[in-house]
């Protein structure tokens, strides 16, 4: 957002905070001076609607209570008109205020959730489609490698001269060392990129996260006719980790499993997703697929960079997953299922106590 945009928003906020009480007072006075038959109190609902856009949920609820209180007060102060009609109108007004508050707060929360999952999907897309990333990594690494190979050629030629041009060869060798260090710095940068910034740890409900990611990846699984079974332990303790990063790992494991199932022809197409406690103070997450499993010797390379079992895989997904899980204090591994499919598991330390 631009600075002027921010400024505008702040001014709007200040204006609203001043105008909302003024509007409420006007409505209150109008409600009090008119007779029972006029339900002026329903005009509190626009006040609530404006407030939900700009104020935190707690304040909006307080505001709604204030509106209800004012409605009751003006009912007590009003003396003209039919008393019974007044009771009905006041009741309708209070219900309208209550329903408006509830629905508009729900709406705001739903919007926030939608925004959050869109953002997560974007981040996931960034990490799963690595084509662009690999192109620039290849370029970055090949530059110093080209310099090294070329300098080595020059060095050899200086030495082969009669008499050998030692000083020149020395300079070429120095350049080789410099460029080798540069190549290694590039690799270090890539590793830094893969493991991301220091994880932003928070306590969160792991099962809720799994459900969200499953919902995101669900469509793909449905298209491929995969039966997804969720076995989430219901009293799972909260975990203390970077929610977005862990979400990426869960998404990556699910996509791997879906791809493994898709790659296998025939047989059952099932995907089992399990969450459970492990040793009381850790949670363990497993994705069990009915794919072809691992071939001899594949298990130990699975998490190596640029090593892949997929035909057009890049071999970075699990490597990045491992650095994320390890950075969050957990570990990740793979096993072969007794039915021949693959199991990918990770465990993470639990935060203190269950959520709520």
């Amino acid at each position: 957002m631009t600075n002027s945009g921010k400024f505008k928003l702040e001014r709007r906020l200040v204006l609203t905070i001043v105008l909302l009480p003024v509007a409420m007072v006007v409505i209150f006075v109008g409600d009090t001076v008119t007779d029972y038959a006029i339900a002026a109190a329903v005009f509190y609902t626009p006040v609530i609607l404006v407030a939900t856009r700009l104020l935190p949920a707690g304040t909006v609820v307080a505001l709604a209570f204030a509106c209800v209180a004012l409605t009751l007060l003006s009912f007590a102060l009003t003396h003209s008109g039919a008393y019974e009609v007044g009771i009905v109108n006041t009741g309708i007004s209070i219900v309208a205020i209550g329903v408006t508050t509830y629905l508009s707060l729900k709406l705001v929360a739903a919007e926030a959730a939608a925004h959050e999952s869109r953002e997560r999907l974007l981040r996931m897309a960034r990490i799963t489609s690595l084509g662009e990333l690999t192109a620039s990594i290849a370029h970055e690494v090949n530059q110093p490698l080209a310099a090294i190979a070329t300098s080595a050629g020059a060095c050899r030629r200086w030495l082969a001269q009669e008499p050998p041009a030692i000083a020149n060869a020395q300079r070429a060798a120095d350049r080789i060392v410099e460029d080798a260090n540069r190549a290694s710095a590039v690799i270090a940068r890539v590793r830094g990129l893969a493991s991301g910034k220091a994880p932003h740890r928070e306590r969160f409900d792991f099962n809720a996260l799994v459900r969200e990611v499953v919902a995101l990846a669900g469509e793909r699984g449905e298209r491929s006719g995969i039966t997804v079974r969720l076995s989430l332990q219901h009293d799972l303790p909260a975990i203390l980790a970077d929610r977005v990063q862990v979400g990426q790992v869960v998404g990556n494991l699910l996509l791997n499993a879906v791809e493994a199932i898709e790659a296998k022809t025939g047989g059952a197409k099932t995907l089992e997703i399990v969450s459970e406690t492990e040793d009381g103070n850790r949670i363990r997450f497993s994705v069990i697929d009915s794919g072809a499993g691992f071939r001899q010797g594949e298990l130990e390379h699975l998490f190596d960079a640029f090593w892949t079992t997929k035909k057009d895989g890049v071999g970075l997904g699990l490597t990045i997953s491992r650095s994320i899980i390890e950075a969050n204090g957990g570990r990740i591994w793979a096993e072969t299922d007794k039915d021949g499919g693959a199991i990918a598991r990770f465990s993470l330390p639990a935060g203190m106590g269950a959520i709520e």
Partner: protein, 211 residues
């Protein structure tokens, strides 16, 4: 851009390098120096274009991916700048499509980094040879054109008719002059064009497009 230079045999060949990476440039310059080739490098296409090229045989080593104008883009439009340099493309991340496009745009070689030093040197030598040949041919053509320009219009007429295989007598009839005049003009033009045989003359006339 047609420098009236010595034929190019005497001028030292130069290899131009355009690559945004400083250490790649340094390594290439050193490699070329180790085989006694003169090199001059530039960090960008803009820098290269600002440089006043001397008329010696040359070869260009051009990186594909650079900030500013990319090597591929420059290669495609090089002739529009009046440049006819044999070009060796080098790239850190290339695919077949890119290689094919480079070759179609006239590159003499497409190498992916890291490349074998010998491959680069071979390509550069080929490029320099090609440029030397082109320069010699252009210089010779320029010489023929100069000679042609020194002919009188009557002599040019005779030359063109001679080349079509007509006899002196027929030429005289065509031009409406005496056969003696044709013979005299023919003698002059052969001397001016510095040719002894009719076959030589026809070969020379082929290289210029008389208008």
């Amino acid at each position: 851009m047609k420098p009236q230079l010595p034929t190019g045999k005497t001028a030292d060949p130069t290899v131009y390098i355009i690559d945004d990476d400083r250490s790649v440039r340094a390594a290439l310059e050193d490699l070329l120096a180790s085989v006694s080739l003169r090199a001059k490098s530039f960090a960008s296409v803009q820098d290269f274009l600002a440089f006043d090229l001397p008329g010696a045989p040359a070869c260009l080593v051009l990186d594909v991916r650079m900030p500013g104008q990319s090597g591929m883009d420059f290669l495609e439009h090089m002739t529009e700048y009046g440049l006819h340099l044999p070009t060796v493309m080098i790239t850190g991340h290339g695919d077949i499509a890119m290689g094919v496009k480079a070759m179609k745009d006239g590159a003499i070689e497409f190498l992916t980094k890291p490349f074998r030093d010998q491959d680069l040197l071979d390509a550069v030598h080929r490029g320099i040879e090609a440029d030397r040949t082109r320069r010699l041919r252009e210089a010779a053509n320029a010489d023929v054109a100069r000679r042609w320009a020194s002919l009188s219009s009557g002599e040019k007429d005779v030359a063109q008719l001679v080349a079509t295989g007509l006899l002196n007598k027929q030429i005289a009839a065509d031009l409406g002059v005496s056969e003696i005049t044709v013979k005299v003009r023919r003698g002059h033009l052969m001397r001016k064009m510095n040719t002894r045989t009719l076959a030589d003359l026809i070969r020379l006339l082929d290289r210029i497009q008389p208008t």
